[in-house]
Symmetry: C2
Subunit: 337 residues, 2 copies
């Protein structure tokens, strides 16, 4: 059975490094746990490392987190669903009137001043978010609803169609929008400038607009890299999440450049999706994968890998999410705090 | 929450149609349940529909099946793993000496004559399987091992690199190999000619070589299509597996050909992988997906789809496997036998 080996201590230290980088620019870290299915032990390490709140997209994860960490501020960063209640978040992200109404219909919640809402605005990634020309109207409606409390605005970039070079335009757009809403008399405590892709700007020494108060990071904490160019971040380990799968077959077969040693690993798309993995061993390159297998070519640089050998891989974020989701991969949490 | 609606009765009737198609050529149906995570209620419908055995790739699924269906012949069609025992199968597929030894080391099992083994041979798909020039040696070794019983040979095609036009060469290669092994004095009861991709040949009226005794089909039973050109099979329903996801956002946005209505559905790669889906509604086309969302363009042919609407989709096999794997999709088994 493949194994996903998660070094909790390394994730905690990655979080410290990312939180320090953000803090040096006056920004808070909201830690995103969707990549680890809202695993509370990972969330605890992120909180110990300096995160001020936990964010997740899935209600099932938020319920887990709420049970384990009753006093932590939870952000529900997925757009509201109308087919079921979505109680577990303290802060809900909405992008339209219907979403705001769905949150409002849950009642005022335990706190005073109504349920806290962040408005998600679209700044170039072409995925979710209210278009900029409709933001003021939506914000005004939310601010006027006594069941809701407009906490701030947020955006996301580099998760869908946004090209890396557009990151600065994205964060400047959300900052400008926040300034305009404030000029229109709307109070905004928080401006969430983006995800782990923002960290590339910070690591490169760029400044963010003064309006931005926080970033939502998950990928960087788990994998130690920014999510724009996937560069290692200062002080972060990139091997906190390690995947191991077994060689179940090894034959020399015809290949493009003459006969080649081909390994079949006992892990496939059902476990990895199509997200990339990086082999720890030199000389290994992936040929492809099907539902249950990954086929790998072993070049001359690769030592012998007899059947039964466990092959170490560093998953990309997409592969990590898939691996953590698969019930066919054994999860090993090591170095627990 | 997205919903996967499985019509058990329709799968049973698809199985009857596929079993009849195979039986008309003298072939047995071995039903593959990896696409439904070894769900015993689906497996029961497949057995009632005429399957002679159940095959799966995952031990966890095989354990579920063994508990629910103690007397059914179970095929473990994944290559043996060495990191853990793999007891649940009655018939194990191997492709190398190490795999055969791993099965032999489990002891003789309950039956007489040793543990039943099928040798998986490679016939053009470039994934797993013993190369043809090594088959006789491996078969001879297995036949000589008193702990093992050589049941037959098997191959697989169109799961990895094999192009559709090579299907005939694949099935002819395994048939020829079986004939050669028999000429060498090895007894082979069974020759498993391939998966649901073989059904295209049969539906088109082609004959299979006389040596082939059975096919392993899962995709065709669940989705009602062959797995080569994905054509509907005679007597099969293609909507036995229906996926529904919610519209959580709808805005008119700039697009390639002017402003377009864009929907955001509350389902993403964590649930669907990258496998295709087909929308039941006309006028919908997918723009792309990220971990939590699928973005869809709604053309003029598509009626209004207000936020909260459930959108129906027929998943491809790859998407179906991912959806069934995701804990964030509600499984609804309807029309149970």
């Amino acid at each position: 059975m493949p194994e996903l080996r998660i070094d909790i201590d390394a994730i905690g230290r990655n979080t410290e490094s990312v939180a320090a980088l953000l803090r040096s620019r006056g920004l808070d870290l909201v830690a995103v746990t969707k990549g680890c299915l809202g695993e509370p032990r990972v969330a605890s390490a992120m909180l110990a490392g300096g995160a001020v709140a936990i964010a997740d997209t899935r209600d099932r994860n938020l319920h887990r987190l709420r049970s384990a960490l009753p006093n932590v501020e939870l952000h529900r960063i997925h757009l509201p669903s109308f087919s079921e209640p979505f109680e577990p978040g303290d802060v809900t992200y909405v992008s339209n009137r219907e979403g705001a109404e769905a949150v409002a219909s849950l009642g005022q919640g335990h706190g005073s001043g109504g349920r806290k809402v962040m408005i998600h605005a679209e700044t170039g990634d072409e995925r979710e978010g209210v278009p900029m020309d409709l933001l003021l109207e939506l914000a005004t409606e939310i601010a006027a609803d006594p069941r809701l409390r407009l906490l701030g605005v947020a955006t996301n970039y580099a998760c869908f169609k946004g090209k890396p070079e557009g990151i600065r335009r994205s964060v400047e757009a959300i900052a400008r929008a926040a300034a305009e809403l404030r000029q229109a008399g709307l109070g905004l405590e928080r401006v969430s400038g983006g995800n782990s892709s923002l960290l590339w700007l910070l690591a490169e020494g760029h400044a963010l607009p003064a309006e931005v108060t926080e970033a939502r990071c998950g990928e960087a904490l788990l994998l130690g890299r920014d999510a724009l160019y996937y560069q290692p971040l200062p002080g972060c380990r990139t091997d906190a999440c390690l995947l191991r799968a077994e060689v179940v077959e090894e034959y020399t077969r015809p290949a493009a450049r003459g006969p080649a040693r081909r390994l079949v690993l006992g892990i496939g798309r059902q476990d990895l999706g199509t997200g990339a993995v990086k082999f720890a061993e030199p000389g290994l390159s992936e040929v492809g994968r099907s539902a249950d297998y990954t086929v790998v070519e072993a070049g001359e640089a690769c030592p012998r890998t007899p059947i039964g050998t466990m092959i170490d891989m560093i998953p990309s974020y997409e592969a990590l999410v898939a691996v953590w989701t698969s019930p066919y991969v054994e999860l090993a949490l090591v170095n627990r705090l």
